[in-house]
């Protein structure tokens, strides 16, 4: 292994900012990466992204984490497209962050979040594929002693038409690996219209072992001599561990001991998880609940409502004098919306396995941030980065939970330190997972608008009060006390999460009100709440103006052609304006996030008892490019389920400083019976690369909420709806 230049300290500092992959933690030069990418090290390796074996198997390297979103397949399609290999011979492997560091971070930022998997790596992985193809062709040209320009490739075979000769990639891979790589910047990539592997609904590369139980998730790991740990953290955030009586469980079968991990966390170690967790439940523990012992959802609610009224310098965008324009208008519209804390509740609870052998530490972990996990392992063990490595396991759900916060790695490492040579699998019970999440931030928004005699908006004012992600994850990115991330979707800048409306006057404000509850990014992050606030409020404005909600929006979107095109696509495919069966009502919404444009329509009926049925949703997405239509569609279907779960059911409440909901019996989520039929229209406009997994969630809620508004005449403003007499059936 080569010398690692990065110092442990600077690496730790860098990865600490990897907010669920949403902030680019360490800046690395793409140029340097491109250089490193074509320095070969392992046998059969044409370059960092492509290994061709003698039997023609093409191993494509994937640096991002797979958590169900399909990035493994999508990235492989992009590389395979340029490599022009036989798709049926493609397999994948994931480099470790240790391998990447040893090659000067050759695989770049490995973190996976912010819907960046494809949109920020499509260029260099395709160049990797294209460079590998050229080198394979050159190797064949050398063998045949013909100019490389006379050669062509097709599905993993190099042909020389003039002599009728051909060679498969595997036959020249050894030679190709020894060649000098081409100038990757000069390579001309294929246009999407030329694609035959990318852009197609290729079957996922990782389905087979998910249907017969063969797939090993991190929680399934079984290593020789492994011990298991179940962890308990102070029920009240910020509380402390006072004492525990180990003697009460010492004689329980399989129990190996109790490890105090830090001043608020302990773990019971046993031969199996069930025995560890059973003993943990029997362990008498005394906690000092600390200063947050009396905090409740009511006190937090009051704090946020104070923020809606507070005086101070909170503005982020200002066009003209919106408050005056609103004040002077004929009609005023005002509404306050609220969103609760939300747990991620990944199906696989948090877990990590660590083994310390001598001066080396290894971790097996389902992580969205491989380098963040590595940093956590190095920090917990005190070992040099070069003495640590992390084996990424495919995640049993991520949704932002397993990125910026890596405390389970630290915990497993602390336990492993007490059991040298033994692999320690540390697993959180569902109750621990649900009560110690990094929750979607709680927030509220006060919205106001003025409408003139012609039904035009004179001004728009939004003030969001709520908890900041960056205050916990990336304080240095908050400048002048203004945290722009919390206003995601209201931004002026084009290209990422731009507001799709132009108002004559505008004021956006964010008032930071941080609670003691830890928060983190949650699929869609702030576009969730902000999309609901904006799109439900614009609906109320349309109603007040006496206009059709679609026409009302269109009039405000003249400067936002891409937003508008997607809105129009959803309206058209969603049969906007066409008759519906009696009792069924339609809603519509559009929003932007993660560089993609989303819009949706929903058809909903509401019974007199408040039973809401979502009959149909039509979804339009412009993600710029579509690498795998079937998987994009799957992400949209998933966004609908997670988005509607949040709107109707999801809520984590605080009681005596701790989270009240402990399992799925009190934290209900959507099931089959609630799931609407989702239709998708993909309208990639081709001149940018946008995300998919997250941008599609932000319009799910408002489309349905607006349909409920149409059905009942009452605009829902407080979530979840089950607290307000509306249940999803």
């Amino acid at each position: 292994m080569t010398q690692i230049n990065t110092s442990r300290r600077s690496f730790l500092m860098g990865t600490a900012t990897l907010g669920g992959g949403l902030a680019l933690g360490l800046s690395f030069a793409p140029e340097a990466m491109a250089q490193a990418a074509y320095t070969t090290l392992t046998p059969n390796e044409i370059n960092l992204w492509v290994v061709v074996k003698p039997d023609d198997t093409c191993v494509i390297r994937i640096a991002r984490s797979e958590m169900g979103q399909g990035t493994r397949t999508g990235l492989a399609q992009l590389v395979a497209e340029e490599l022009d290999c036989d798709w049926s011979k493609v397999t994948t492997e994931m480099p470790t962050p240790g391998q990447s560091l040893a090659r000067k971070r050759a695989w770049g930022d490995m973190s996976t979040g912010g819907s960046r998997g494809i949109r920020t790596s499509h260029d260099y992985v395709r160049r990797g594929g294209a460079a590998a193809r050229l080198m394979l062709m050159q190797a064949a040209a050398n063998r045949w002693n013909v100019p490389v320009t006379e050669l062509m490739t097709k599905e993993g075979v190099i042909h020389h038409a003039l002599s009728g000769r051909s060679l498969s990639y595997g036959k020249v891979a050894d030679d190709a690996a020894k060649l000098t790589p081409p100038d990757v910047k000069a390579l001309v990539l294929k246009k999407p219209s030329q694609w035959r592997i990318a852009g197609k609904s290729m079957r996922r590369l990782d389905t087979a072992d998910k249907v017969d139980g063969r797939k090993t998730f991190s929680i399934d790991l079984q290593l020789p001599g492994m011990l298991n740990a179940s962890v308990k953290q102070s029920p009240v955030f910020g509380g402390k561990l006072v004492s525990y009586d180990e003697s009460k469980i010492a004689k329980m079968r399989g129990v190996k001991g109790v490890v105090k991990i830090n001043d608020s966390t302990l773990a019971v170690v046993a031969d199996t998880f069930w025995r560890a967790n059973t003993a943990l439940a029997a362990l008498p523990i005394v906690w000092d609940d600390g200063v947050n012992a009396n905090t409740s959802s009511a006190t937090i609610d009051a704090m946020l409502r104070e923020g809606l009224k507070a005086e101070g310098d909170f503005w982020q965008r200002k066009v003209g004098d919106a408050p005056a324009a609103i004040q002077g208008a004929v009609k005023h519209v005002e509404a306050t919306y609220t969103s609760p804390f939300l747990a991620h509740a990944t199906m696989e609870p948090m877990n990590c396995t660590v083994r310390i052998t001598g001066d080396r530490a290894e971790a097996w972990v389902p992580t969205q941030s491989a380098e963040g996990s590595l940093a956590a392992l190095a920090e917990a063990t005190g070992f040099a980065l070069a003495n640590c490595d992390v084996y990424k396991m495919d995640l049993g759900g991520g949704f932002g939970r397993r990125g910026g916060h890596q405390e389970y790695v630290n915990q497993a490492a602390q336990v492993a330190k007490k059991f040298p040579g033994k692999a320690i699998k540390l697993v959180w019970s569902r109750e621990e997972d649900m009560t110690h999440d990094f929750y979607r931030p709680i927030s509220m928004a006060k919205m106001s608008a003025g409408i003139d005699a012609q039904g035009q908006m004179t001004g728009f004012h939004v003030r969001v009060a709520g908890q900041s992600l960056n205050a916990l994850l990336s304080p240095m990115s908050i400048k002048n006390n203004k945290d722009t991330r919390q206003m995601q979707g209201f931004w002026e800048e084009a290209g990422d999460a731009q507001l799709g409306y132009t108002f004559p006057t505008l004021l956006t404000e964010y008032v930071m009100r941080n609670t003691h509850v830890p928060v983190g990014p949650w699929r869609g992050v702030n576009t969730n709440q902000n999309g609901i606030y904006m799109e439900c409020f614009i609906e109320e404005c349309a109603k007040a103006a006496g206009k059709d909600p679609l026409e009302f929006r269109r009039a405000l979107m003249k400067n936002h052609s891409k937003h508008l095109a997607v809105l129009n696509a959803a309206a058209e495919k969603g049969d906007w304006g066409k008759p519906l069966p009696p009792g069924v009502f339609r809603g519509i919404a559009q929003f932007m996030g993660y560089a993609s444009y989303s819009a949706a329509t929903a058809e909903v009926s509401v019974s007199p008892k408040g039973e809401v049925r979502v009959h149909r949703m039509v979804f339009a997405l412009d993600s710029g490019h579509v690498v795998n239509p079937a998987q994009v569609r799957a992400q949209i279907e998933g966004s609908v389920v997670m988005g509607l779960s949040a709107v109707f059911m999801g809520e984590n409440t605080v009681e005596k400083g701790r989270m009240k909901e402990r399992n799925f019996d009190t934290y209900p989520v959507m099931r089959m019976q609630h799931t609407p039929k989702v239709e998708t229209v993909l309208v990639p406009s081709g001149d940018f690369w946008g995300g998919v997994g997250e941008p599609t969630i932000c319009v799910v809620g408002p489309a349905v909420l607006n349909a409920i508004y149409a059905a009942t005449g009452k605009a829902p403003r407080d979530l979840p709806l089950r607290n307000h007499g509306l249940t999803l059936v």
């Binding site: 087979a208 017969d212 063969r214 998730f217 990944t346 696989e348 079937a630 993909l682 990639p684």
Partner: protein, 166 residues
């Protein structure tokens, strides 16, 4: 204690109150059956007991007795059950964590009702999937039941407005 799992009688020396889930996972090494909640809410731990779907996290191993336990590993040879084939063809799983339980619940449904209606599917398939694969699960059950053609379902996943692509 003896347990009949996937057609083989296995000997176990465990506490009688140990849930079947953990006996399968940690004593017999059958990790296809998943832990999701421990309180019979999510269905990730679904196995068949004498052919009936059961949530193994909430059944003490001592209560299993002579019943025949089938786990996802024992559902078929080489994933050839109609449900597994449909799941594979339609790429139902996303992360895949809940899918062992989904597959077992679907297989039990089809054994009981070979041609299930959507209402039957709603009633029987109440396992949680946080990735939100429900629509594909429904499609796959209809394909497995022979009520929908695979090609038609796959074609319905296809439409992309490619004329806008550069």
């Amino acid at each position: 204690m003896k347990l009949n799992v996937n057609g083989t009688v296995r000997n176990l020396d465990v506490e009688p109150q140990m849930p079947l889930l953990w006996a399968l996972r940690e004593e017999l090494g059958l990790t296809g059956t998943k832990y999701g909640c421990g309180v019979a809410q999510c269905g990730a731990c679904t196995v068949h007991l004498n052919g009936q779907p059961a949530r193994s996290c909430s059944i003490p191993v001592s209560a299993v007795g002579q019943m025949k336990v089938i786990t996802v590993e024992g559902l078929s040879k080489n994933a050839t059950h109609a449900v597994q084939k449909a799941w594979t063809e339609l790429d139902v799983p996303q992360c895949g964590y809940c899918q062992s339980g989904q597959v077992m619940a679907a297989a039990a449904l089809l054994a009981r009702i070979p041609k299930p209606t959507d209402a039957d599917i709603d009633e029987a398939m109440n396992n949680i999937c946080r990735c939100g694969t429900y629509q594909r699960i429904r499609d796959a059950i209809h394909v497995a039941a022979g009520q929908a053609k695979l090609g038609d379902v796959l074609a319905s996943y296809e439409t992309v407005n490619t004329d806008q692509l550069a």
